[in-house]
């Protein structure tokens, strides 16, 4: 009896499935989003990927946490010289769970930077920056640079003595760059001296401009990861990890790829190598 009922779907179950599938199919027919997400999440990767390959996703997660906690902190923070410090004290001491969200944002910033460096080290040591992935390395370096800029602009916002003088030193460091340095320093300060403009300027950079740029570059970064696929580790027996096997270019001109189209190609080459 139980076997029979599990084999043959009941009418109730068919209705339920139809009710669940209908909105998904509706969305898919009009946008292709469902297929796109499946393509992104269930794409083929080399068989011997390992935990080191998760560092990029970890960095992305750290950034998303920063974006989320930052957006919430912005609801309570007041970016002007008279109120900034008091609003940070208010967040830390008075607002429910403010100490936690601020702590997540503060320590998460370091986690984000550290994970970027770990991810970079993995890519470097695995040789994953080589052809055809040079552009993704370049985008990654840009992300590292503007990630640091995000840290620099965020450091001023607590508006305590450490924040203030560290920013004075940081801006003046920029000012010692040859030729355009003095102008860069004035641009960052919003004038000749740190004043009312500086903190709101850093806030706008920290909240809007730089995160927007980071989101855009992460989009490009992920697009290239999907397009070019994941590299095998150097010790892999698969060709994707050792691309210098001197073969003629593959059918689609891209070597070492785990795209479905290219996958059969490098499987075969791996077997020969």
């Amino acid at each position: 009896m139980a076997v029979a009922s599990s084999n043959k779907k009941s009418a109730r179950r068919r209705h339920l499935e139809a009710a669940i599938n209908y909105p998904i199919d509706w969305l898919e027919e009009r946008s292709g989003l469902v297929g796109g997400i499946k393509y992104f999440l269930f794409r083929k990767v080399p068989g011997d990927t390992n935990w080191f390959h998760t560092l990029g996703s970890a960095t992305l997660t750290a950034f998303l946490i920063q974006a989320l906690t930052g957006a919430i902190l912005a609801m309570y923070y007041k970016p002007d010289p008279q109120n900034a410090y008091q609003s940070i004290q208010h967040i830390t001491n008075d607002v429910t769970l403010g100490w936690l969200v601020r702590g997540m944002h503060k320590w998460g910033a370091s986690v984000f930077i550290i994970l970027m460096f770990f991810h970079m080290a993995r890519v470097f040591l695995f040789g994953a920056y080589k052809y055809p992935r040079e552009l993704n390395w370049i985008i990654g370096v840009m992300l590292l640079a503007i990630g640091m800029l995000e840290g620099f602009t965020g450091y001023l916002l607590p508006w305590d003595q450490t924040a203030y003088w560290a920013t004075v030193v940081g801006i003046n460091l920029n000012g010692t760059a040859p030729f355009l340095g003095p102008f860069l320093a004035d641009f960052l300060r919003g004038g000749a001296e740190i004043g009312n403009e500086t903190i709101s300027r850093f806030y706008a950079l920290h909240m809007l401009l730089i995160p927007g740029l980071i989101f855009a570059l992460i989009g490009l970064h992920l697009y290239l990861v999907i397009r070019l696929g994941v590299t095998s580790p150097p010790w892999s027996s698969e060709a994707a990890g050792s691309e210098s096997n001197g073969d003629a270019p593959k059918a689609n001109g891209r070597s070492g790829l785990t795209q479905p189209a290219a996958r059969s190609g490098w499987r075969r080459n791996g077997g020969e190598g």
Binding site: K38, W165, V169
Partner: protein, 318 residues
């Protein structure tokens, strides 16, 4: 997941006027709320309810198992006439290649050009708004530091004040001021900025301060001047990276690239007026006899003399 083929299937449900009538009912309600809530709103509500019901019934025909009206499917693609010698499209291509400026290229250029103009109209002011104010009206205002009697001859005063009183505490600056006595019948002052010539941290006096003798006064313009006597034994030192200066502001040790900046001053009606700051490469001699190698104000860490000065040929207008 296969690509959906729109061309093969009719839109379901078919086009209907019910949603438009429903929208008209809603609009009637909204207008009625302003014009006459008692009469027009109920009329609109009736229209919206009736046509909303009809629309819902019409839209759910398929699911309720009622017969769907047959609709001619829309099909894409060119007409199926394979025996024609040249399709209209090919004739268009021939005509285009003979034109001097083909229409599609003109339209493409016009679109890109208009886009560039609109983009420029939006971005140029925005970028100018971001950058230019940082370089405009950035002068140093004159600051009244009080009567000369507050600065006894030969003594140092740690003088802190609001550079721009409306900006408040964020504009507080500190200078070390010493009255050098009269030089050729005019008062002489040494006014050293506390901005370290390395990277701009606040330089501290190495000698003991006498905070119990601190004097404060708000000043005429709200400068909130604070004067604290200090014994300048050992000159000045920076807490950040260890730069050391003698009591004339000359670098004696550490990373600074030049001497401490100084301020110009004026005496107006017996009061000390602080002027513009300027940079100093080094100071020969002491007190009122000092020979100051003065330069236009440069940022901390920037050389004003020696070969390195070619790295900083231009300074923003201050």
């Amino acid at each position: 997941m296969t690509e959906p083929q729109h061309g093969d299937r009719p839109h379901s449900p078919g086009p209907s006027l019910y949603p438009i009538a429903f929208a008209a009912g809603i609009a009637c309600i909204l207008v009625g709320l302003i014009v006459n809530p008692k009469i027009i709103v109920p009329i609109g509500a009736v229209i919206a309810i009736v046509f909303g019901f009809l629309w819902a019934r019409d839209a759910t025909e398929e699911f309720r198992g009622e017969p769907v009206h047959a609709i001619e499917p829309e099909r894409g693609g060119p007409p199926e006439s394979t025996d024609a010698p040249a399709t209209p499209a090919e004739q268009d291509v021939d005509a285009l290649t003979n034109e001097r400026v083909p229409r599609n290229r003109f339209l493409e250029g016009a679109t890109l050009g208009l886009g560039a103009v609109i983009g420029g109209l939006v971005t140029v002011p925005a970028i100018g708004f971001m950058i230019v104010p940082a370089f405009k009206g950035q002068g140093y205002p004159k600051v009244d530091l009080g009567p000369l009697s507050e600065f006894p001859e030969g003594q140092w005063r740690i003088t802190s004040f609001f550079m721009r009183p409306p900006d408040g505490e964020v504009s507080r600056r500190t200078a070390y001021i010493r009255n050098n006595g009269a030089l050729n019948g005019e008062p002489s002052f040494t006014i050293i900025s506390n901005r370290c010539a390395h990277l701009g941290c606040p330089v501290q006096p190495n000698g003991p301060e006498q905070p119990d003798q601190t004097k404060q006064f708000d000043g005429k313009g709200g400068q909130k001047v604070t004067l604290t006597p200090v014994l300048p034994a050992g000159g000045f030192g920076c807490p950040c990276h260890g730069g050391q200066y003698d009591s004339e502001g000359n670098r004696t040790a550490g990373p600074p690239v030049r001497a401490l900046d100084r301020y110009q001053f004026a005496i107006v009606d017996g009061r000390l007026i602080l002027g513009k700051p300027f940079s100093v490469a080094k100071v020969d001699g002491q007190g009122k006899d000092a020979k100051i190698h003065a330069y236009k104000l440069a940022g901390p860490g920037q050389h004003v003399d020696g070969w390195e000065q070619i790295l900083y040929p231009l300074q923003p207008p201050h």
